[in-house]
Symmetry: C2
Subunit: 339 residues, 2 copies
DNA sequence: GTGAAAGCGCTAACAT
DNA sequence: ATGTTAGCGCTTTCAC
């Protein structure tokens, strides 16, 4: 916006037009202090502000109050379909409170700290982070800087930052229970990288759920990443090194789709010969062949809740639980055999 | 961020530590004015700033200069897969220039103007908008306010705002030419809503491309929206009211997927009995059955270019073309019969 | 090359 | 209930 031509109208102009002092205008326009102003003056100020097209300069008020009414959101990859709904939830919560959201795509984790520093300079009131690896020095930096921050879709194992996550173990239990209930007994797992918390948690979830049913893991292979290619490679390995299982619980939808690729290539039919489950319920997995049975996460709510927690912290009522765990949900489609 | 505990270090502190005046510090830390400072002083200032962990307060500099180093991005729906790459492009361009990006999800178009007003109050330096309907009063509002703005994925028919778009007619021509080259003659179209510019342009594109090849449109049906359901409904209508075409050019991938649904239901096999093309190359359309032949748009570049144009405007070098049209690309998969 | 001083627009004591 | 005043942290003339 060109500062020279637009909205040169300041609180001064309004005060003059309304025939009152600037501080009166400031009060009249502040919802929290409107009560202190007489009805006539209030009306006069509002009329003048309206007429002149006054728009308070947030930069000035930010300078004065130290609060910018903005928060920052750090995402590893906006194009990964899990993040848009999370962002949407955050944005909705922020918008409802009159906050704006800075979005930064942290393509490479080494850029995270510089970005956080710039956000600090920008005086954001807080941060929602979907990045943070385990034992992240960034968490350190943030607490040292005294910034308000909440993690989303990532837990802070050191417990210094509040977080909102989905229940990975429960997710896998839902998948396993569904498979067992539909008659599967030899159940395998395509595990996520064991270097990341979700990879470990989901694998443990599968093992535990199996044990609860008196079963053992039939076979397992670890993916190098949460991608279709990694899923295909792991599936190949799984099939080559083990007797074929009845069903495979995949750590993620993309991995499941990679498994589909290999099964199609080998003419093993889903779900007739083998059942497959995913995790995330990403868009269009209901369109693949066969439509994928998967776990739906409350992504939007994850974002919403994280933002709400952040605002509570900012407002000083930081009483809330430090980690909120949301419930995932099983979505049964056609990649799992019916009983 | 809590203003009380963090980064209480100001330019004053640095000045004192370095034994110089604040204005000297300001100059030393401003890349454009660093030249005016002697090497020793420069070094002393930098050392002091570093040591104290000084971080310039952008709110203060924004107040003083009228520039915030932020831009706003207005999106109709972040969860629509075309927008994340656009946003990514915008964000990358902004980050490269040290700008931050406010993202606002404009769920309902009546909210657009209030949001723009808040962005104005926030003193964003400019706006990238992926919203704007035809003859949008918002465009009016923005030009009146003297804001810098660029449209993306939407053209401003009144020509008051620069825009970056993809070539819809060319997109359809690529699809039609491919179909003709692979032996199709009776070619139909599932058109987008004729109330939106892209719906009209794509339909005209199909018609023109056909005419260029000496063919006529075999049949056409209009979708009520760019959704799978609308695509299915339109496909049903198309089949019910016309002799079956060899191929159908769809206005959009989701519509094409809706067409798939109907064809599967009627046991019409793709591409043996009929060929189908989409538009957008959204994620996973390579995973559906059969993988969809479609048009890939340079979404990320759309965003990048829009942001670059905006920055040019902000910097006063608004010489660039007022509308940039980017080339889409044909992606041949298995939903179109080979010759 | 550096310092002095004013002021961006707003808010919040404090005074009345 | 309203006015007075000071100042948030920075940039930018204007002096020297």
């Amino acid at each position: 916006m060109n500062p020279h031509q637009s909205s040169a109208v300041t609180i001064r102009d309004v005060a003059q037009a309304a025939g009152v002092h600037v501080s009166t205008v400031s009060r009249a326009l502040n919802p929290d202090k409107r009560g202190l102003i007489s009805t006539e003056v209030l009306r006069a100020v509002e009329e003048a502000a309206q007429r002149l097209g006054y728009r308070p300069n947030r930069a000035a008020s930010a300078l004065r109050t130290g609060r910018t009414q903005t928060i920052g959101v750090l995402l590893p990859d906006i194009t990964n379909p899990v993040f848009p709904p999370i962002l949407q939830g955050i944005e909705a919560s922020a918008a409802a409170r009159g906050y704006f959201v800075f979005v930064a795509n942290v393509a490479d984790h080494v850029l995270a700290q510089p970005i956080v520093e710039r956000m600090l300079a920008q005086r954001v009131d807080g941060l929602v982070m979907a990045i943070a690896t385990r034992d992240d020095p960034l968490v350190d930096f943030i607490s040292k800087a005294g910034m308000h921050a909440v993690l989303v879709n990532r837990a802070d194992e050191s417990g210094r930052l509040p977080a909102v996550v989905s229940d990975d173990r429960l997710a896998m239990k839902l998948a396993v229970d569904h498979l067992v209930a539909t008659g599967h007994r030899r159940i395998g797992h395509l595990a996520g990288p064991q270097s990341v918390p979700t990879g470990v948690a989901r694998r443990q979830g599968v093992e535990q759920a199996l044990r609860d049913r008196g079963l053992e893991m039939a076979c397992v292979a670890e993916c190098e990443g949460y991608t279709r290619e990694a899923g295909a490679a792991a599936m190949r390995k799984l099939l080559d090194e083990n007797e074929r299982p009845d069903a495979v619980v995949c750590c993620n939808d993309l991995v499941a789709l990679g498994a589909y690729d290999v099964l199609r290539e080998r003419r093993i039919e889903v779900p007739r010969d083998i059942s497959i489950t995913g995790h995330n319920d990403m868009p269009l997995v209901d369109m693949v062949n066969p439509p994928l049975t998967t776990i739906r996460l409350p992504h939007r709510e994850l974002g919403w809740r994280a933002a709400e927690m952040l605002f509570d912290e900012i407002d000083g009522k930081a009483l809330s639980a430090s980690t909120v765990v949301l419930r995932p949900e099983l979505v049964v489609r056609e990649s799992t055999r019916r009983p």
